[in-house]
């Protein structure tokens, strides 16, 4: 008996390794090796193309980050962006995916198909179309604002503060479908009879949500939170297309700052250090969520 069990465990481990190997190979080659490279390079001061001729700085690039006013401001802005975008996207994505369950199936299918469209559009075009919509002269946002009478009040992309709001809205538009798709998949896994039983028992919709939907959805939500949260923190394309970090550095996310430092000012070492710091912050922010999802015992 014992030898049988250990033999099957051995086979199981072998199979497990075989199954994980391809995924691990890809991630190691394309993401973890670069990570090691990035960390090594962040200890030097070098220009792109000159990797071997850098000055060894040890942790100086990291110290520099904490003394760099713009870097710290960028960190704050990135956090603001991440929290706002994430919150809105979760609310809207989950909210609408649940709402779609309460309408006839064909209606839900059509609506869901339409709601997913923003996700399917190239980020370049998303940036372009929002830039066009936010333009005070040609854009529809101002057109509507004028009808409502608040076009003087609305700062659009021109004023710091307002620009962050506009960028967040554009990102919400683009990414809510992602949350909605995942939430829909998660909801699909909930057996219908649970709801039926609850309704028979007289539970109202809020109770049904709290007791049935939410607990089952939580796992998916944690994944979405981590994925979407890390993506939002590393935001680049949408801000680059809309404001290039301005006005007055008011939408300068850390990714854009690192890019500028690396490719426009040729300080690759510092850019790498910024990337590493970003990863550390992300681990601190989202790490706790990871530990909570334990593997089924």
């Amino acid at each position: 008996m014992l030898s049988n069990a250990s033999k099957s465990r051995h086979d199981g481990d072998l199979l497990a390794v075989v199954l994980i190997a391809p995924a691990a190979a890809v991630v190691i080659a394309a993401m973890l090796l670069p990570l090691v490279y990035a960390f090594t390079m962040s200890l030097f001061d070098f220009r792109p193309g000159f990797e071997t001729q850098g000055k060894f700085l040890f942790l100086q690039n990291y110290l520099r980050f904490f003394q760099d006013k713009i870097a710290l401001q960028s960190l704050l802005l990135t956090l603001v962006f991440t929290f706002s975008a994430l919150l809105l996207e979760l609310l809207l994505g989950v909210g609408f995916s649940i709402l779609l369950l309460t309408v006839p199936v064909w209606v839900a299918k059509v609506l869901r198909g339409v709601y997913c469209i923003p996700l399917l559009i190239s980020p370049i075009i998303v940036g372009l179309i929002w830039r066009y919509m936010y333009d005070p002269t040609f854009g529809i946002v101002y057109f509507i604002a004028k009808q409502v009478g608040c076009d003087q009040f609305f700062g659009g992309l021109q004023q710091p503060g307002w620009s962050m709001l506009c960028v967040v809205l554009a990102d919400v538009w683009e990414t809510t479908p992602f949350v909605m798709l995942c939430a829909t998949a998660g909801l699909a896994a909930i057996p219908g009879d649970l709801y039926e039983a609850a309704r028979i028992d007289g539970a109202g919709w809020w109770n049904r949500f709290l007791r049935i939907t939410f607990p089952s959805l939580r796992k998916v939500l944690v994944v979405v939170l981590i994925i979407r949260g890390t993506d939002a923190f590393r935001v680049f394309d949408i801000i680059y297309a809309l404001t290039n970090g301005g006005p007055a550095n008011s939408t300068l996310s850390l990714s854009i700052y690192a890019f500028k430092k690396g490719f426009e000012q040729y300080e690759m070492g510092y850019a790498m250090a910024i990337s590493i710091i970003m990863m550390v912050v992300l681990s601190l922010l989202f790490g706790p969520f990871l530990r909570r999802s334990r593997i089924r015992a």
Binding site: D135, T137, Q158, P160, G246, P247, A248
Partner: protein
């Protein structure tokens, strides 16, 4: 077993992707080994790849490349990509010595970096070889200041071709109604813009946080005898002249068209092109679009002038050049192509096609071109007293700091003096 079937594609695609690896390679190789009787004596046809930014200028250039191939048998492929990704791609390829590009289109501020990184091939030896330059090359016909821009340590690294300078544009009808003349000085500019602003429009400025604003600002500053450096070459930003320039910029933004603080040159151009803005500062490369009757609502109505000055006229100049890469496998042929692209005939043809401004004196003075492009005189006038942004090793940092400072002054209510002081302090370590 039927559940396994959907997974079979996975295995097959794994196989196909490995095969597909070579597909891209095979295609480009087969282009190089193209069948051509009029090929080089070496037997295998030479193929060149050139790197530049995409757009209508690129399309026009690509259209005439066929003539080069007819004349020399060298096949040319143009890799025109998004401007925002251009420098990265050039740097990655030249740094990695991939040999992917033979000629690169480079801006003057990129060239010092490229040269010090060893990316470019010096061209001096080729200049004296008429087989490579063509019969009527006439090197002296190039604007010498631009040649100087591309020369480092007495070695020439690029042939200049596409010149850009900021330009003032205005709607002659609207100005006529206001009784305004062609604006020349800062005061002219402010007074006209204020009147327009009172009537609901204003001057369209490229005040977005970016290089456009800096390019305009430095011309204004230099016209006021200001600038980045003092006579000893040290960074000296906090001068009365510079502060006055920042104040002028701030005042101008106050009477600018709504949206200017997020506008780059092409947004300004659009505003003028479609009749929204009667006054603006745009860049010469875009002026052609204003005169196209099919695309512009104001074709024929626009007046052109150099940037306004305070004490003496001054402009900012930016030039794109064709440079031969150090890792090119065919540097001689690449140079031949560069010389052909910058030859008098080709430059004139391009100018007639889309009104672009080249670096050849004879072409700029050609009456055919002046008729076609009413903005040429203003451009020539701008170039009389013009200079590029500094091409020093640390100037990217300076540019970046200035961008942010100007944006804060324009949109964030920043104070000119303290913004300049903060930039000076930020960079004091870099510019000793």
């Amino acid at each position: 077993m039927k559940h396994v079937i959907p997974w079979l594609p996975l295995l097959s695609t794994a196989v196909i992707s490995l095969l597909g690896c070579n597909e891209g390679l095979a295609q480009s190789q087969s282009d190089a080994k193209g069948v051509d009787e009029a090929g080089d004596k070496e037997g295998e046809k030479v193929q060149l790849v050139i790197s530049r930014w995409a757009g209508s200028h690129a399309d026009d250039q690509a259209a005439i490349l066929g003539e080069f191939e007819k004349a020399t048998g060298i096949h040319v492929r143009m890799d025109a990509i998004d401007y925002g990704q251009l420098r990265q791609k050039q740097m990655l390829n030249m740094g990695g010595k991939t040999g992917a590009y033979d000629l690169v289109f480079a801006q003057e501020v990129w060239i010092p970096e490229y040269v010090s990184s060893g990316y470019l091939h010096a061209l001096n030896d080729y200049l004296s070889n008429p087989a490579l330059t063509g019969k009527d090359f006439d090197f002296a016909d190039f604007e010498q200041s631009l040649i100087q821009t591309d020369t480092i340590d007495s070695k020439l690294y690029g042939l200049p071709t596409f010149v850009q300078t900021p330009l003032v544009v205005f709607n002659k009808d609207v100005f006529g109604r206001l009784g305004a003349q062609t604006p020349k000085t800062w005061d002219d500019t402010l007074s006209i813009a204020s009147k327009l602003h009172q009537n609901g429009t204003g001057i369209a400025l490229p005040a977005k946080e970016g290089l456009a604003a800096v390019d305009v600002w430095i011309a204004l500053a230099r016209s006021n005898n200001g600038g980045y450096f003092d006579s000893a070459g040290k960074l000296n930003l906090v001068t009365p002249e510079n502060i006055a320039t920042c104040q002028f910029w701030k005042d101008l933004v106050a009477v600018s068209m709504r949206g200017s603080t997020n506008w780059h040159f092409d947004d300004v151009n659009k505003a003028v092109q479609f009749g929204q803005a009667p006054y603006g500062i745009t860049i010469s490369g875009l002026a052609g679009q204003l005169e196209d009757p099919k695309e512009s609502k104001v074709a024929g109505k626009i007046g052109y002038a150099p940037l306004p000055f305070k004490q003496r006229p001054f402009g900012t100049l930016s030039v794109w050049s064709w440079c031969v890469t150090a890792d090119s496998k065919h540097p001689k042929e690449a140079f031949r192509l560069a010389a052909w692209l910058t030859s008098k005939q080709v430059e004139k043809a391009m100018g007639l096609k889309n009104g672009q401004v080249c670096a050849r004196k004879s072409v700029l003075a050609d009456p055919d071109l002046v008729n076609k492009a009413p903005y040429l005189p203003a451009i020539t006038e701008s170039l009389e007293n013009a200079d590029t942004e500094p091409r020093d090793k640390n100037s990217p940092k300076l540019m970046d700091a200035m961008q942010a400072a100007l944006s804060r002054i324009a949109a964030g209510g920043g104070d000119p003096k303290s913004e300049l002081e903060s930039v000076q302090q930020q960079l004091s370590n870099d510019f000793k």
